[in-house]
């Protein structure tokens, strides 16, 4: 369970109600809850959708799931009229290793997710929203279901929400524990009761999505931002962040730091400060070795590369990604060979198997790195791993292949010397995996 943490540098928007019992609907209402939805409805039926979308565009909010697509623009792609029902789908399948922000949201402020979903529905003219939680988040599902039931009881959901004459329903759903289902089209497949494999695009979900209807799919954090943005105004929210990266963001800082946890920092906040000040520095005063800046799929940064701002564009420029904001800090004791193996084991285990490069590529990288890790490696194995990873990049059906290949490439390119030394018997760091770990693989 992530602890509640705080730091003076935080700019609090999303975390405003954390630790205040806002999972209870009365408490949520007392903390301005459901005011944003009513503010939207007060714009009048005709003006409302345009007003919401304009506000969202002005906020500069970009998708918090990892791809960083502008939310307002995404919503504007949904056709005004549609023969099939439109849907809002909230992606709470938070599975990226190192990321636990949605977990905090569902636990501390579930109504913000519900209210954001309602507003998104009002913006695009949907009558139904789905909140999809990661399969392992059973306890959080209970919280969400209670919150939804409370919202129904108050008339915030149902046939006539807030007395407006408009109807909106929310259905909660969980997965069965598949990372791949966090990919939006696989999420729809899963929600429809099918195998969790991604869909061919085009058509894009905004046109043909869930059950064939136009659908917007947003990360839970993105959606939870919506009520706040409507209340404070798009421009005000935008100014909290850096250029082209509006607002604040929840960063899950984990690994070898003194105070791990979920921090809300403005977009563009310096990574070095985030590690050394916000999270309290390296655990036990050891040396920093590397940082994974945005969840397991983001290429690793060496200790000398952390003077950089945490936003989509700056991280892209230095060859990594902001991803889902999961910052994993590794100190000098970590064996990069082991860390690379752990990472690829996760992806090998989670690959849906749909396309050849990902299914076979993750498997061969895992097998090869396992042998290297166990001491049976040869120098050409580094070449093999790099070759396979390079040939997965950009060749797979969905971004998962890149997500598996990118960190692998990062490790073997940036820490090649460490791999070579390892193969020659000069092992850096302290291996932590037991034999059982190796056999079964991480993530089981």
């Amino acid at each position: 369970m992530p602890r509640l943490v705080s730091h003076p540098d935080e700019v609090i928007v999303l975390k405003r109600r954390f630790g205040q019992g806002a999972a209870k609907i009365d408490r949520y209402i007392a903390l301005d809850g459901y005011a944003a939805a009513q503010k939207a409805i007060a714009q009048g039926k005709d003006a409302m959708p345009g007003w919401i979308i304009d506000t969202m565009k002005a906020s500069g909010l970009r998708g918090r799931g990892g791809a960083g697509f502008p939310t307002g623009m995404k919503w504007s792609f949904v056709p005004k009229t549609s023969a099939k029902p439109k849907y809002v789908l909230v992606n709470g399948d938070e599975s990226e290793p190192g990321t636990c922000k949605d977990h905090m949201l569902f636990r501390e402020d579930p109504h913000a997710v519900i209210e954001g979903t309602i507003i998104a529905g009002l913006a695009i003219g949907a009558k139904t929203g789905f909140i999809y939680l990661r399969g392992e988040y059973r306890t959080l599902l209970n919280i969400m279901e209670h919150a939804v039931a409370d919202a129904y009881a108050r008339g915030f959901l149902g046939k006539n929400i807030f007395g407006s004459g408009l109807g909106f329903d929310i259905i909660t759903q969980t997965g069965a524990g598949a990372y791949e289902v966090g990919e939006e089209s696989a999420l729809m497949e899963s929600l429809e009761g099918k195998r969790g494999v991604p869909r061919i695009r085009p058509p894009f979900p905004a046109v043909v999505g869930l059950y064939g209807g136009p659908t917007i799919i947003n990360n839970a954090e993105t959606i939870a931002n919506v009520p706040h943005i409507l209340l404070m105004g798009g421009e005000a929210y935008c100014q909290l962040g850096s250029e082209r990266n509006g607002g604040t963001r929840l960063f899950s800082i984990s690994g070898h730091v003194e105070r791990p946890g979920v921090y809300e920092l403005p977009m563009g906040y310096p990574l070095r400060k985030a590690i050394y000040e916000v999270a309290g520095g390296i655990l036990g005063g050891k040396e920093l070795k590397a940082v994974v800046p945005g969840g397991a799929s983001c290429p690793v940064l060496r200790a000398d590369e952390i003077d950089i701002g945490l936003d989509f564009d700056q991280l892209a420029k230095c060859g990594s990604m902001l991803g889902s904001g999961g910052i994993v800090v590794l100190d000098e004791t970590v064996s990069i060979v082991e860390f690379a193996l752990r990472t690829i084991k996760f992806y090998q285990h989670e690959s849906c198997g749909w396309c050849i490069p990902c299914r076979e590529g993750t498997d061969w990288i895992k097998k090869t790195l396992t042998r290297v890790y166990e001491g049976g490696g040869a120098k050409k194995d580094i070449e093999t791993v790099q070759y396979v990873a390079e040939n997965m990049m950009g060749r797979t059906f969905c971004p998962f292949g890149d997500a598996a290949a990118m960190p692998t490439l990062g490790f073997v390119k940036k820490f090649r010397k460490e791999f070579e030394d390892y193969i020659e018997g000069k092992k850096a760091g302290t291996p932590l995996m037991t034999e059982e770990h190796i056999l079964v693989g991480a993530g089981h």
């Binding site: 791949e180 090998q348 396309c355 050849i356 061969w364 194995d381 040939n391 950009g394 060749r395 797979t396």
Partner: protein
């Protein structure tokens, strides 16, 4: 869609906007490799082999999902693209067993071909391949799991194409695996297996050797076979099938049936019978020597010469003493058109009798006469793939005419065709139907009347009058309609339904029958009261072209005995001889053998059937896979039958009929117009020796000569001589010779010549039993069933399947 122009590898190509790039390239002769892409099935983009570079697009694009638009520029053969494909192959081969020398697909494997092209021969993994044990899923489907490359073609063809959904993917990632629908826990012997239609489409469509055929595997190497495209002998759909044939010590044997030639009327499709049930030909009970009954009652093998001389002499003697009226001739549904035509001509012009019939599996006489005087109303099997609206009354195509069912499913899936079904049982095709009408038993006649506007019959069709009314309203709103009729509709009720259909301007019709040439047998005049082409029998009028056949035949001018009457005549001692070619009427019509004890019986067959065991002479016959000619399917689509296999000792029915006529002293040249120029004078009959052919081998020589672009010097055993006459005399058989010989199908639509005396239908409904649908299932094929090991295995397999009932009420969690 409007045409757009794109550039591929510097070449300008114009095609309709939205066409898939992979198809555009195929048409333009640019090869794009793919495993998962398969025309007509849903798109996967899973194998990543078809990647191409598109200008101004950051990532490589899959050609199988790229819909073309104006001005796009693609590169399909750059080093980057080639490397991507090579890398994908390397990844596949990492786990794929390199057992090509012993793999069934070796030599015809897409993975092998692509590896050859892209040279992905390097192996840089030290770890062992993932091994899994091979599984037997059914008597005909085996799955070698390590070879599977997960292209999902089998899953899709089973689900989307067959509407069976017996295959699926289990587990995920590198553990992903194709599994059948009966899991081990539920299977009788704790081994996972398939409960399905056993069509074998999954085997055909598998690009590698993962799915293999139980009847073919490990028997041969592909290059050791000759591949002959011919027509399946089983149901009335007449699918083109490719037979893999290998030489044996006593001829050549079929070792495989598949559908590698997709040019046929069946397109991609072939069912289990076409694929596996050729094996009756190799059954050990097959007779390969003529048998003659001895005074002690035993059937004894004799030489062909002796047997034929005996039959000829005996027939001539009985003809002299008892006359042609005491003869009965029964033909079969699997004879070629040439043979059926020859048989009835032999009966009519040599035996001077109209006592000729066959096991009618559908009432084509009534069908043709109901369409008398119309043109263009006969539907082709190809129409089932494109018709906008289809009405199916009776029948169960899934079981009895599987290619028809496949086409209808495809048409609904791809074109949104509207399918209306009226049936007394809930046939499987109703799942594709826009409307399904559950008709009461014996309700088809009432349905036909109701459709034609007689509301009083409503309650005899179904108690649900509202459903019936909306069914008719929907049909009436259709501008064109393809009406498919099950063979349980006969005589008057068949005519009523067609009369209703004829009120719809664009309606076309087909009557679905059971065997390869059920339609041809009727078209060729194996009927006592109709000459070839449903020509009326009556007084000869030299001015009437309809009298041409009877004039040439010098045949009797009054109708003969039908099949039931022939046996009635035997019962009262009026049948001196019975000549049966390729039929088993004793079993089919439950004839009492005792009634035939004073009749001289000659049977041409492959096996000692219930009919053959009663015979005085049994002549071992070649089957449809062992001869050449042509057949007409239920729809009237004419196709060439090519000789594939050969068996020492047997003769084609064609040759036997000619030789019996010869032994009877008949003028063979009048029976078969062979030799240069038809019916010309002065050419002596030499029974084929002029071209150095041994007797009985003529047929094979004709095939050889045709293959070598030489004109066959016709012999009396060459069926193409008969085809000339069919073309000349049979109404509706104005066929295109080149089309036929090219192996293409052509649609013929012989509708009866309008009847002169307006006497109404020749066959009327009080003779229902005469038309006897065989009601074959997917795992039976008339008398051939018991001689086909694969069909027997499949029947047994079907009986073993657990009955899995899913109670929707209890499946909640």
């Amino acid at each position: 869609m409007a045409d757009v122009t794109i550039t591929v590898d510097g070449k300008k190509i114009t095609a309709p906007a939205g066409t898939l790039l992979i198809e555009v390239c195929k048409t333009a002769g640019i090869e794009i490799p793919a495993f998962c892409y398969y025309p007509g099935l849903s798109l996967q983009a899973a194998c990543r082999m078809c990647v191409v570079r598109q200008e101004k697009v950051p990532k490589l694009q899959t050609a199988c999902t790229t819909q073309i638009a104006e001005g796009q520029v693609f590169f399909t053969d750059t080093p980057e693209v080639v490397q991507a494909r090579k890398a994908t192959l390397q990844l596949l081969l990492g786990n794929h067993p390199l057992d090509c020398p012993v793999c069934d697909a070796g030599g015809e494997c897409e993975l092998q071909d692509m590896t050859f092209k892209y040279g992905a021969a390097d192996s840089f993994y030290a770890e062992p391949k993932n091994h899994r044990e091979e599984q037997k899923w059914s008597p005909v489907v085996y799955f070698d799991r390590p070879r599977c490359i997960l292209c999902y073609r089998c899953v899709r063809v089973c689900g989307e194409g067959m509407d069976v959904f017996a295959l699926a993917v289990e587990n995920r990632g590198s553990s992903s695996i194709i599994v059948p629908n009966v899991p081990a826990q539920l299977a009788p012997d704790n081994l996972a297996q398939l409960d399905c239609e056993q069509c074998g489409m999954c085997i055909d469509i598998c690009p590698v050797g993962a799915l293999t055929s139980g009847t073919y595997r490990y028997k041969t190497r592909p290059w050791e076979m000759n591949h002959v495209a011919t027509v399946c002998t089983h149901c009335g759909d007449g699918c083109k099938t490719t037979l893999g044939v290998r030489s044996t010590s006593d001829g050549s044997q079929i070792v495989r049936g598949d559908n590698r030639d997709k040019s046929g009327i069946n397109g991609d499709f072939l069912c289990n019978k076409g694929r596996y049930a050729f094996d009756f030909a190799n059954n050990s009970e097959r007779i390969t020597q003529p048998l003659v009954r001895q005074p002690n009652g035993e059937l004894k093998p004799v030489s062909w010469e002796e047997a034929l001389t005996y039959v000829g002499t005996k027939f001539a003697e009985l003809l002299n003493t008892h006359g042609g009226r005491s003869f009965g001739v029964i033909g079969g549904n699997r004879l070629t058109n040439e043979e059926a035509y020859l048989l009835q001509k032999f009966a009519r012009s040599v035996l001077h009798t109209n006592n000729i019939d066959h096991h009618r599996t559908a009432d084509y006489a009534a069908f043709a006469q109901s369409l008398a005087g119309t043109a263009g109303r006969g539907a082709s099997l190809r129409d089932t793939l494109i018709a906008k609206a289809v009405l199916l009354v009776g029948g169960d195509p899934t079981n009895q005419n599987p290619a028809t069912a496949w086409n209808l499913r495809s048409n609904v899936r791809h074109n949104g065709a509207r399918l209306y079904i009226a049936n007394i049982t809930e046939i499987k095709l109703r799942r594709q139907a826009r409307a399904f009408l559950h008709v009461a038993e014996y309700g088809y006649g009432a349905l036909a009347e109701y459709l034609a506007g007689d509301d009083s019959t409503s309650s005899s069709v179904t108690p649900d009058s509202a459903a019936l009314a909306s069914f008719r309203d929907a049909l009436r709103s259709e501008e064109s309609l393809l009406i498919l009729i099950g063979n349980e509709l006969r005589g008057a009720e068949l005519k009523r339904l067609i009369d209703f259909g004829l009120t719809i301007p664009g309606a076309k019709f087909a009557l679905l029958a059971d065997y390869a040439n059920s339609r041809g047998a009727a078209d060729m005049g194996l009927l006592p009261d109709l000459l070839p082409g449903y020509t009326h029998i009556g007084p000869i009028d030299t001015a009437d072209p309809a009298s041409r056949i009877a004039l040439e035949y010098h045949s009797p001018t009054s109708p003969g005995l039908d099949l039931l009457e022939i046996f009635d005549a035997a019962t009262v001692g009026n049948l001196s001889a019975l000549y049966v070619a390729g039929a088993n009427p004793v079993a089919r019509y439950d004839v009492d053998p005792a009634t035939l004890k004073n009749t001289f019986i000659v049977v041409q067959d492959m096996f000692l059937t219930e009919t053959a065991v009663l015979a005085d002479v049994v002549l071992p016959a070649a089957n449809l896979y062992e001869k050449s000619g042509c057949v007409s399917n239920s729809y009237g689509d004419l196709q060439q039958v090519k000789k594939a296999a050969d068996r020492a000792g047997v003769r084609s029915d064609f040759e036997m009929i000619v030789r019996i006529a010869d032994k009877m002293g008949a003028d063979v040249r009048k029976l078969v117009p062979f030799g240069p120029g038809s019916n010309s004078e002065g050419i002596s009959a030499d029974m084929g020796q002029t071209r150095g052919a041994e007797s009985g081998e003529a047929d094979r020589h004709a095939v050889w000569l045709t293959a070598n672009n030489l004109e066959p010097r016709l012999s009396p055993f060459d069926p193409s001589a008969m085809l000339d006459e069919i073309q000349r005399l049979v109404p509706g058989y104005k066929l295109l010779r080149l089309q036929l010989l090219s192996g293409n199908d052509q649609h013929l639509s012989p509708a009866a010549v309008p009847i002169r005396d307006d006497a109404g239908l020749v066959q009327i409904s009080n003779r229902r039993d005469l038309v006897l649908p065989a009601n074959d299932t997917l795992f039976t094929s008339g008398s051939l069933t018991r001689y086909s090991a694969s069909l027997n295995d499949l029947q047994q397999n079907q009986l073993r399947q657990p009955i899995i009932q899913i109670d929707n009420k209890t499946v909640v969690d």
